[in-house]
Amino acid sequence: MTVEESNKNSGENSAKSERLEVLKTYKMYIDGKFPRTESARYYQPVVNGSSLGNVCLASRKDVRNAVVAARSAQAGWSRRTAYNRAQILYRIAEMLEGRSQQFSEELVRQGLDVETAEIHVSQSIDRLIYYAGWCDKYQQVFSAVNPVASSHFNFSTLEPVGVVFTVASRDCPLLGLVSLIAPVIASGNTCVVLASEKCPLSAVTFAEVLATSDVPGGVVNILTGRIKELTEHFSRHLDVNAIACDGLEPGLNTEIKEFASENIKRVKIYHQDWSTEATANPYLIQDFCEVKTTWHPIEQISESGAAY
């Protein structure tokens, strides 16, 4: 039988059936690139009996590499103007909007119903816009000129803590992720995110959005893997300045706090339904800032008070 005959015989559907679907490789996102795990280990998260695919199982060295990337990006990111950071957060929202269909479908694959998935995607977009708006405003709200009894102009402003390790929510793979990343980076922090172990797909796809949104490499780094394997390594890491945990079991939270006490890093633990509007607020930005107070000597002209 010739090739032509064979094609003819296999019928009209042949074009469709011979097309092999190209499956996506879910890789991690470190320093603006998409590497596989250095450990070459993978796992298959299962939702409703079906596998989501091969996902990287990050090792302690991946954590190390991601923290190095976040640290080297931090100075540059926090030096950008608040206005520019707002523009970039807005840009992430634009990019997410353009791919909302894909995100909805992926959320459905990860076990959400269609309606919830769509709500979560649009809320994620809105949340980015919300924090984009706060970038150049939270300073005015949280900073202060303090009354002091000496010849000083005394003022307090917020500074980003530095590198924040974020453990994403297990049940809210996109909205929980975005709701923590946005306030963390809004003030000039960089972060390393460990995606939800159960539903990591949205995090990886969100990395593709970040990669095309003018977010400098290293500002957000996304790892996938098992929290229990990595807890000690990121909690004890001296170059991680704060940890944000969302929806972890209490035992794990305690373990993280104990390790984090070694260099007194800040640990913030959240247990909330991110789909309520109240969970978006500027206090989340404040959670990852530290207050810097400056005493600036001034001339005290008379008894009439500070004269700056």
Binding site: V67, R71, L238, D239
Partner: protein, 302 residues
């Protein structure tokens, strides 16, 4: 050798560039066990020439560097000191006083560093000044312009003259490989420097990119090896610039061991010219001891 007076003809073996790059890459694929790593990291520290060569250097900066050389990280017990502190000639006296009794050497760049574009008289005066201030080691630069013109005898004579001016001090000859262009030229310059009496050959000033790379260092190590096999005399090696990570430094040690042997794994014969390498090595040692990854802001700024 030819008969017409002092003029020499220099010829060096041709370098297989692809082969050298491949070979250098293999040194980075050795598995290093944790015990060997611990030893290696200590060895790297003891081989560092802690360097400050900036136009903005001040006495305070040099004093601070000398303090750092003797107190790398006091909260870790049993750390070695670095091999030397490397400064400009006008800071040699100060460094010498600051390091008195520590056993740490003072190295000084000289000969119109970093370009080397000046007369022989001025270069020799530069060297004499550093030597009279007490420099234990002199880091000279070769005249790359004359080298590229093919004036190899000029380059040779200059190195020999500087060597004579060094007296008891050991001479390191900087080839500035980033300006030489090819590995063949690197090999030729190495052979000239060794023949002219250099105690050490050194890759770079640190002012030009690329500075030290593994292939370039390998070519220079092979020049040292061939010289040793021919004459039985040892020459030291100092890669400088661009080595800022402990892992890379360990790769260099493996390369030295496998090319020259254990005798060169000694601060007398092998050095790293670096400023930020020390802190990275300290961070690795602290990681090995405590199990926690370290952060740069817990270590002294050089």
């Amino acid at each position: 050798m030819n008969q017409s007076g002092t003029a020499r003809v220099f010829s060096s073996p041709a370098i297989d560039q692809v082969g050298v790059v491949e070979r250098a890459k293999r040194f980075t694929a050795r598995s290093i066990k944790s015990q060997a790593k611990r030893q290696g990291l200590g060895m790297v520290l003891s081989m560092i020439d802690l360097t400050t060569l900036e136009g903005m250097d001040t006495e305070g900066k040099v004093k601070q560097l000398c303090y750092k050389a003797q107190h790398l990280h006091d909260s870790i017990d049993g750390l070695p000191n670095v091999a030397a502190v490397c400064v400009y000639p006008n800071f040699v006296g100060l460094a010498k006083r600051s390091l008195a009794g520590s056993g740490i050497k003072v190295a000084s760049v000289a000969t119109a560093f970093p370009s080397g574009n000046s007369s022989l008289e001025i270069k020799l005066a530069d060297v004499s000044m550093a030597v009279s201030e007490g420099a234990d080691e002199i880091d000279m630069v070769i005249s790359r312009g004359r080298f590229h013109r093919g004036d190899y005898n000029f380059v040779f004579d200059e190195i020999a003259a500087v060597k004579a001016a060094c007296g008891e001090s050991r001479l390191k000859t900087i080839l500035e490989t980033g300006e030489l262009g090819s590995l063949d030229k690197v090999r030729l310059a190495s052979d000239i420097a060794i023949a002219a009496g250099a105690d050490f050959i050194k890759t770079s000033t640190g002012k030009i990119q690329p500075a030290a790379t593994m292939p370039v260092t390998l070519v220079m190590l092979e020049a040292i090896r061939d010289h040793f096999q021919k004459t039985g005399l040892m020459v030291g090696m100092k890669p400088a610039g661009g080595i800022s990570k402990a892992k890379l430094a360990l790769h260099y040690l493996i390369m030295v061991k496998e090319t020259l042997g254990d005798d060169w794994l000694d601060p007398k014969w092998f050095r790293f010219g670096a400023s930020s390498l020390a802190n990275d090595v300290l961070m690795q040692i602290a990681k090995q001891q405590t199990g926690a990854y370290q952060a740069a802001n817990y270590f002294a700024i050089d």
